[in-house]
Symmetry: C2
Subunit: 400 residues, 2 copies
């Protein structure tokens, strides 16, 4: 039982957790049952734990010596820079991903969808690293793995066969990327991705860095295939920066199709934000992620989704408390909705995820209100996964 | 003497400070002179201390109970919301500003240019509050105060007379705001501002929130008056969001005029950034500020300029180490250049402010490199003002 906690910053309550689920929300000061384990809320705010649904665990350098950034702008140049350097890191991929996933849990994340780059250079080594991290933290977090063709499917011989093999060896989601700009044959790229997903009965996640009208074209190709193959509810578009640049009159029909086909969206809170509230008004599943974590692509990303939630609020220029709370909802239940473990956030505020029947995947954070907690991002946090404390004060619990 | 410090993250050195100035940069392990006070660098990075050159100390609510945001978008609506609420804060303006200025010093800021709103509602009460804070921290920071007509000069009878009285009572800088959109008579607004500045031989700082072509028009009016009145080097434009939206072909001639007339620029690192590197290439003095600090305008702003430096880097999508170091230069020496106590940052990287002859206004921060320190924003910091430690571990020193 969590004692003296304030769900979404509201009135204090005691929260009884049974079998990994919130069983009762009780008045504060409830007498514990015999043998009941107590988790001290100490008046902190109770929220659903974070879901990071766009993270490249397989390139992390968190915890390793800081390395000067050597990438050049552009997806292909960045990929080549990563390719030239990742093998010479101080520790193995498995060690790095395990360390970083632990850090994410320690900061409040218990649901993760991570990329594992699969290409002719890495083969399946990076996939195996992410799978090892998942196994190491299986009692601390739920992890989905995306087999991700970062280098495209058509540029290098053998790329597709490796992606197929990655799905066979335990990846959960088929990845795709910039169908126009990277492989330069969008129909063929998407047909390969959708075909593989159909064969493995797997969801799809497609990185879309393309600009404005090109992003619109690629999104339409994705919509067409989602509809034709009956993949409603199984496709996620990641980034989609360019869609956010579209005129309102072009964006809205696209959002309506996303809603119709239940196409989800994952954002990393870039400086030029997506239309966050408009997406919610359409009932589209929207989740948040960190992207890279101090890796060969960028020095940003630190394992802390509370930081990234602040970033989502800041980039949207949100000031009203209910808007900032909506960002917390996106970073928690929004991410779970992308993973299919929670419903979409319909509309703009509903403080979800802490009612009877919800999973006991929770976090306690410090603050007077949810908004002030996002602004302050303090370290006194407790993380609960399936009813058990897995981290406290930004450190993993020994017991977990 | 600061021992074992790494200027801008370079090789360790001992730094001898005499009479508030860096007197010698010596090899590490130098034997101290008899009676010399030692400041332990412990291998930390040595940087110039921060300069916050755009902060509204007089509206801060940092340290007070968190208050739900009640503002409505737009300068006038936000001003009215502030006006309706600021008097009912839990403590006086003088107490709040003193508390917040102390917090800023504790986080590494020792040069400040703060607004003090002067209008028919507040009279000079807010000015007196900021002056009291300056006096309370006179041995910890240098503070310039801008008499700031937040409500315009032409909309409410008596506004200009109050601004004049504020200059008489100790304000250092004459403020102005949105000459077109707020007072709706740009020539008259600017003539009043420039006239007052001429009379008091004072610098000028003008808030410019206006969009694209309107911002360009207002900037041109400012340029014309700066030239006509021989006020080269005495004018700062704050925000200037709209100028950053101009086509390159329109922006560059404006930047050339800013450079010619040495017009400075203060930014708060908004999500849509100014062209930071282009400004530096033109040798224009650019400083950074926090704007509001958890006040009636916004919940953002926490007294920590290292956080705001991260924000400047993030919004510019900077990843290269030298670009992120440039942001630190803007937040330190760039701000001092706006205040006239350091030269402009010419070009894009020069790691200034820690050589012999530079003021002993310094900070020690934790990190492997300057970039990693900006990413991590760790609390083990030491702040030095005029050669004396004024803060340590985010707390003011008792001695100072």
């Amino acid at each position: 039982m969590i004692t003296d906690a304030r769900p979404w910053g509201g009135a204090a309550a005691d929260i009884r957790l049974i079998d990994g689920v919130i069983a009762e929300v009780l008045p504060p000061g409830t007498v514990p049952q015999a043998g009941e384990t107590l988790i001290e809320g100490r008046g902190r705010i109770l929220l659903p734990s974070f879901a990071d649904v766009h993270v490249h665990l397989d390139s992390t350098r968190l915890g390793l010596p800081f390395r000067e950034h050597t990438g050049v702008p552009g997806v292909w140049g960045m990929m080549l820079n990563d390719r030239a350097n990742w093998r010479s890191a101080e520790t193995s991929i498995a060690e790095r991903t395990t360390e970083t996933l632990g850090r994410m849990v320690a900061h409040g994340t218990t649901s993760v969808r991570s990329y594992a780059q699969v290409d002719v250079d890495a083969g399946l080594e990076r996939l195996h690293g992410v799978l090892a991290a998942r196994e190491a933290h299986r009692d601390r977090a739920t992890v989905e793995v995306i087999a991700f063709p970062q280098a495209g499917l058509l540029r290098e011989e053998g790329s597709f066969e490796l992606l197929e093999e990655a799905m066979r060896q335990g990846a959960d989601v088929v990845g795709g990327i910039d169908p126009c700009l990277l492989d330069r044959d969008p129909a063929k790229h998407l047909d390969l991705v959708f075909g593989l997903a159909e064969r493995f009965d797997a969801p799809i996640d497609i990185h879309l860095h393309e600009p404005d009208q090109l992003a619109k074209f690629s999104a339409e190709l994705i919509v067409e295939r989602t509809r034709a193959l009956g993949m409603t509810g199984r496709v996620t578009i990641s980034h989609g920066y360019g869609l956010g640049q579209l005129p309102h009159a072009q964006l809205v029909p696209l959002l309506e199709q996303f809603a119709e086909l239940d196409i989800a969206w994952a954002t990393i809170a870039p400086a030029t934000p997506l239309p966050t509230l408009l997406i919610a008004e359409h009932g589209i599943r929207l989740g948040l992620g960190e992207d890279g974590q101090r890796d060969y692509w960028s020095p940003y990303g630190n394992g802390d989704m509370l930081d990234r939630t602040w970033q989502l609020a800041f980039t949207n220029n949100f000031r009203r408390d209910e808007d900032i709370e909506h960002c917390v909802a996106v970073a928690t239940i929004g991410g779970r909705s992308v993973l299919g473990t929670a419903p979409a956030l319909r509309g703009h505020l509903d403080r979800p995820g802490v009612a009877v029947g919800d999973p006991a995947d929770l976090q306690l954070i410090t603050g007077e209100t949810v908004t002030s907690a996002v602004m302050d991002r303090l370290p006194d946090r407790t993380v609960v996964f399936r009813g058990a404390v897995v981290a406290d004060g930004l450190e993993l619990s020994a017991a977990a």
